[in-house]
Amino acid sequence: MINLVRNEMLKLLRKKRLYVIVLIIAFLVPLFTYAQFKEIQDQREKLGNQDWRTVLQQEITDTQNRLSSSRIQDEWRKYLKIRLSQQQYYLENDIDPRAPGAPTFMRIFVENSIDLLLPLLVMVIVADLVSSEASGGTIKLLLTRPVKRWRILLSKYLAMLLSVSFIVLSVAVLSYGISGVVFGYGGWNMPLLTGFSVSGDELITDNVHIVPQWQYILMEFGLVWYVCVIVGTLTFMLSVLLRSTAAVMGIMLASLIAGAILANMVSSWESAKYFFMVNLNLTNYVSGMATPIEGMSLGFSMSVLAVWGIAGFIIAFVTFSKRDIY
């Protein structure tokens, strides 16, 4: 098995896709770093004060002002209210949720890329894992070896897991390394609050507790990895089912983007919460943001994703071991 996985890793590396992904991340991170830097600078300029409390207070005031506008949508109002009570909670506990520093940037970066950017990157890697063998004809050589088909597919799946881990790691390392140049490398021990839960438009703080930022980041990366694995598994399934890599990418791209759109507008369509793509934003539960649909929670979303993932996995393996190859 190790040999098989090694083979798959070799092919992955030789196809240069991993490098491309790393390059994309290496290109995007400075972009976001600059944006973040600009934002902080802008705020400083506007307020002429460097104290984060003032900035946060300013944001709270801004939010309150927006809330007092009558033209605001219910959706948005709910979101703002939750945001507001959270910000106030941070302020009350004297915790700066955005103290600048590479770890903070890392955290904000993954929180924002968990539902679209990272799944897209994973998809680029995984989409052609099986379909390229089919379209390139190499599958005929691969499957006429003295190795059972499920073992071959499993080796590909494991290679997929490894490359997902690699991508997530590159995001971590690159975002830390690059943003640290601007924001400094400290801040791992900064305390952060987690355990918020949302019921209706109330923020429940019963289970709120403090974790140091390094643990918080590790937890978020764990969730990011989980999301990427599920997206990877589904892409993998499509890659087994379809010969054309472009078709795999097209379908995944459409569903991921549909998920991003749906998450913003499905609050009244309750059964939409069973789609995998509206459940990708797992880090929101840790940081205590409003859920797109009532009744969603970390446990719920993870279970929905798990069901999709397991189904995809089974479909992939059953079809692959039974299928006739022409």
Binding site: N7, P146, V147, I325
Partner: protein, 304 residues
């Protein structure tokens, strides 16, 4: 040929969407022989081969490679098999060496030294560390054979091995295949729609048409059966009349008569003609091409 068969195919059928594609194909390959699988495109050659190598599961029938059943004992059966199905599609982004190493790793029984052996055998030593995307078709074909030979198979299956090769390449390939059978005692199954190729390469041949084998025999036998005698004689009408009293006669081009080759009776026929006042100018035997043969057995179905 008293050895145990290297490949046994028995009553193989395949149904796709209610349509019977392969209708009970059976044949056997013995060690050291080159077996031709001959038929027009769409006759079911490739489907049959894909079933043998395990890419397609048969609807019914058994396939045994080296005595192991492909369906129940896939791994062991595959140990004894090397194949190229259609084109040798290798990973273009890997080097030749990496490609071979990749496939060698999939079978733990292949020692590392085997790589160098097959590379020497197919004569690719110079370019083995170049990327496959830079290879010519002939080189890819050779690399394909190298990967097929990695596991010291008992059976080598080559689907259309000379497809796309130039005449020199075709001749080289043909000699190489014969050499493998002779020196390594390999059974080689070669499929082709080109009759001349089979004729030059194979010991035995199975003719397949519309999903069933219509004839399996040694190339020698098939040819002998169809051997003819060409007569040049004067006067032609008289000769024809006399001969038709003894056997079936057809009139050939440029004033010749054609009869079947029947060794014991041939002197009598000749004597009869001479006695009847016919001058026999020329009498020769002719081997028909497989083209003629094919037309004969399939009843005139076109080949391409």
């Amino acid at each position: 040929m008293s050895q145990s068969p290297a490949l046994e195919v028995e009553n193989l059928t395949k149904r796709i969407k209610g349509k019977q594609i392969i209708k009970g194909v059976s044949f056997t390959l013995f060690p050291g022989e080159v077996f031709g699988f001959l038929g027009p495109n769409g006759a079911g050659k490739t489907t049959t081969i894909r079933m043998i190598v395990g890419l397609i599961s048969p609807t019914s029938g058994t396939i045994k490679i080296g005595g192991r059943n492909v369906r129940t004992d896939f791994t062991e059966a595959m140990r004894h098999l090397g194949c190229i199905v259609e084109n040798p599609e290798l990973y273009p982004f890997l080097t030749g060496w990496e490609n071979l190493e990749h496939f060698a790793k999939m079978d733990p029984s292949i020692p590392k030294s085997r790589l160098q052996e097959v590379i020497t055998l197919v004569g690719l030593s110079n370019r083995i560390h170049d990327r496959v995307s830079t290879y010519s078709l002939g080189m890819r074909q050779r690399l394909g054979i190298a990967q097929a030979l990695l596991g010291r198979p008992k059976v080598l299956i080559l689907d259309e091995p000379t497809n796309g090769l130039d005449p020199a390449g075709i001749r080289e390939m043909r000699e190489f295949i014969r050499q493998l059978a002779r020196e390594e005692n390999l059974s080689v199954l070669v499929s082709s729609h080109l009759l001349s190729e089979i004729q030059l390469m194979c010991d035995r041949v199975a003719i397949i048409s519309k999903g069933s084998v219509i004839r399996t025999d040694s190339v020698q036998n098939l040819l002998a059966e169809q051997e003819r005698v060409i007569w040049k004689a004067e006067p032609l009408p008289l000769a024809k009349q006399l001969l038709s009293e003894e056997t079936e006669v057809t009139e050939g081009a440029d004033g010749t008569l054609i009869t079947l080759y029947n060794e014991p009776l041939l002197p009598d026929w000749n004597e009869k003609l001479v006695k009847g006042g016919v001058k026999v100018k020329e009498m020769r035997t002719q081997l028909p091409s497989l083209e003629d043969l094919f037309l004969e057995v399939t009843g005139g179905e076109s080949i391409d």
